[in-house]
């Protein structure tokens, strides 16, 4: 398959029109039409084109001229050299304060996406999305769980203490009811009653005899 046909097929598969593809790449619609007619895309558009269309760069490069291949390899070489130079930068204390960047290039965004490091001074540093602590959902769930657990614990403990107290009362009343009566005192009382009755009867009999 020729390059132009390959690009057109890939564009249609990804559901993009020529205008949409041109807008995404930052190129003109005319240029996209020329690529699909057979012209070789500019070197700066090759990687973004392969990324957007999901196309193989080898397939795009096939059937192209020697000059275009050399231009592409020169662009790649310049990018790798730039990446190496950035990594061998001087220490942060020696560096001049960098100017604030307005926009990031495609390659900087790509490199940030695929790899990152813990070193804040590295150009590939990306702050972690996660940290210690709790998420908002966890906080809500945690508070509800803690309140329910406290209510359960307090209710259970109070119930246990009330049951224990009522058991103790029932036990003590049982013990009191089964306690033996003081028989010696009762017998003494009965004997005194008998003695008084007999004395009273003897007196009565004496009076009657008289």
């Amino acid at each position: 398959m020729k390059r132009g046909e390959y690009l057109a097929e890939k564009r249609l598969q990804s559901g993009l029109s020529e205008k949409q593809l041109a807008e995404k790449l930052g190129a003109s619609e005319e240029e996209v039409r020329q690529w699909e007619a057979g012209a070789f895309p500019d070197a700066k558009y090759l990687l973004p084109l392969s990324e957007i269309l999901g196309a193989d760069t080898e397939e795009i490069l096939r059937n192209c001229s020697q000059e275009a291949t050399e231009a592409f390899s020169r662009t790649e070489q310049a990018q790798t050299e730039g990446a190496r130079a950035a990594e061998s930068e001087p220490a942060p204390s020696e560096r001049l304060p960098a100017a604030k960047k307005q926009t990031e290039s495609y390659y900087e965004r790509l490199h940030k996406k695929i790899r990152y490091s813990d070193d804040p001074d590295s150009r590939y540093y990306r702050e972690s999305r996660y940290s210690d602590g709790f998420s908002p959902f966890e906080r809500v769930f945690g508070y509800i769980a803690c309140i329910l657990c406290v209510i359960l614990c307090i209710f259970g403990t109070v119930w246990h203490l009330v049951e224990k107290h009522s058991e103790q009362d029932a036990f003590s009343s049982q013990v009191y009811a089964s306690c033996p009566v003081d028989t010696a005192a009762e017998e003494k009382k009965a004997s005194v009653r008998v003695a008084v009755k007999s004395a009273a009867a003897a007196e009565f009999n004496a009076e009657v005899a008289i």
Partner: protein, 99 residues
């Protein structure tokens, strides 16, 4: 993490510690002393593990060479779920009736 979010997290950690203390008192009042050997390490450990979950997962990943030891989302979420389950189970043991 912002200072405000950190304060909210510390408040929840304090609330969980208070729950742990109330549970301990309830177990002692009910005289379920046999449960203390399970309740104290599980509650104390789960509160700490819930707060320092990210640091612990990152520590387990520190031997991975080709990444910056950033833990995966799966590891973080599964760790959190397990720690919450342990905390809830220990809270339920505090609510158990006297044996």
């Amino acid at each position: 993490m912002s200072v405000r979010a950190e304060k909210k997290d510390v408040r929840l950690a304090v609330c969980m510690s208070i729950t742990f203390g109330i549970g301990l008192v309830c177990i002692i009042l009910k005289e379920n002393y046999i449960l203390l050997s399970y309740y104290i390490p599980c509650s104390f450990g789960s509160v700490l593990a819930l707060y320092f979950n990210y640091s612990m997962c990152k520590f387990t990943n520190r031997w991975r060479v080709h990444t910056n030891s950033e833990p995966s989302r799966f590891l973080l979420v599964s760790g959190k779920i397990a720690e919450w389950v342990v905390f809830l189970l220990s809270a339920i043991t505090a609510a158990l009736p006297a044996m």
